[in-house]
Subunit: 200 residues, 2 copies
């Protein structure tokens, strides 16, 4: 059975993105610093690659996919990533606004799910074929799955930078109800990978 | 020359203490969970012990020492820790309210410093004899030293719990001016120790 995992880069002061997200700054001002580690080589990164091989599908929120709020319009936003997005997997985008499936080069398919968390998870699990379903980006989406008791693991990439402001990864008063178990910690150049199991 | 280090336990959602600090809950509601790791044994703890051997003096804020705000009064607060506090070191307490030096059993001495950050650091460095000066607890105090360019290292004990609310360890818009270098990461039961150097 597929596990649902939240995978996110986080600054030392707890931000998953910088302030003032825009087309120019999809990760917010300063937010790119959270992802420079992905370009580094090293033993830690290899561990992570091994881990990433086990991912069969992704879930993201509308904000992560981008294009602003509201209906998609006549020339719908095609994502931040150009014709060949770096996912190479089925991606399920949670949105209130229906839209046909959008197939890209390199095996990335965006399916737009309008009937909620459970439906998106069911479709993603179906597509993942027993591998992980990862929630990528989208702190809001992850919080909703966590609150619904549907999240199995949290994989954090803790980056030694301060952003000072932005979107906090964990900012929810009900989080104190969640119990975690530390699974592994891997130090790598410019990042520490931390994996936790959500206990129920 | 002594280095100034900020050493603190932090929850996965970024809190250094829980909400509603009081005599009954000096670490805030739920805040004790941040310190249970100190009772665990294991390789990580040994590394930490080694590290702690190099500490010669401590700096803390008035809030960490406790007793509420304002003048000390006729029967001044003697700290949260009883007659033999667990520090066994000279401790310099930043306060606006003067008070004589307060000596406890076991080698802990509380000196109350009313003339600011620089004065407290100078006295602590003098007492530390070349060993580390640690800022213990007191996120506000650490932020002030960081902003003043006086902090050398940050040692975090990242605990896999969510507090949901409380006192955020890093909550300052000017932090994005600070650059860090990852020094070491040590995984231990129920905690990850992370050490960073502050670059100038």
């Amino acid at each position: 059975m597929s596990k649902l995992r939240y995978s996110a880069s986080i600054s030392l002061d707890g931000f998953a993105a910088g302030p003032d997200q825009s087309r120019e700054h999809p990760l917010g001002v300063g937010g790119r610093a959270l992802h420079t580690w992905t370009r580094e080589a090293g033993p830690g990164s290899r561990v992570l690659e091994e881990d990433n091989r086990g991912v069969g599908a992704l879930i993201m929120g509308r904000n992560m996919f981008g294009g602003g709020p509201g209906p998609w319009g006549a020339e719908p936003w095609a994502g931040w990533w150009g014709p060949n997005p770096p996912f190479h997997l089925p991606v399920f985008v949670l949105t209130h606004h229906p839209r046909p499936v959008f197939e890209c080069e390199g095996g990335t398919t965006f399916t737009f799910v309008t009937d909620g968390l459970d439906a998106a998870l069911a479709q993603a699990v179906d597509a993942a074929g027993g591998q992980y379903v990862d929630i990528c980006g989208g702190a809001t989406v992850a919080k909703q799955y966590l609150a619904a008791g549907l999240l199995d693991e949290i994989l954090l990439h803790l980056v030694p930078v301060f952003l000072g402001a932005g979107v906090r990864l964990f900012d929810d008063e009900t989080l104190d109800k969640v119990t975690l178990e530390q699974i592994f910690v891997v130090e790598a150049p410019g990042v520490t990978h931390l994996k936790y199991r959500v206990l129920r």
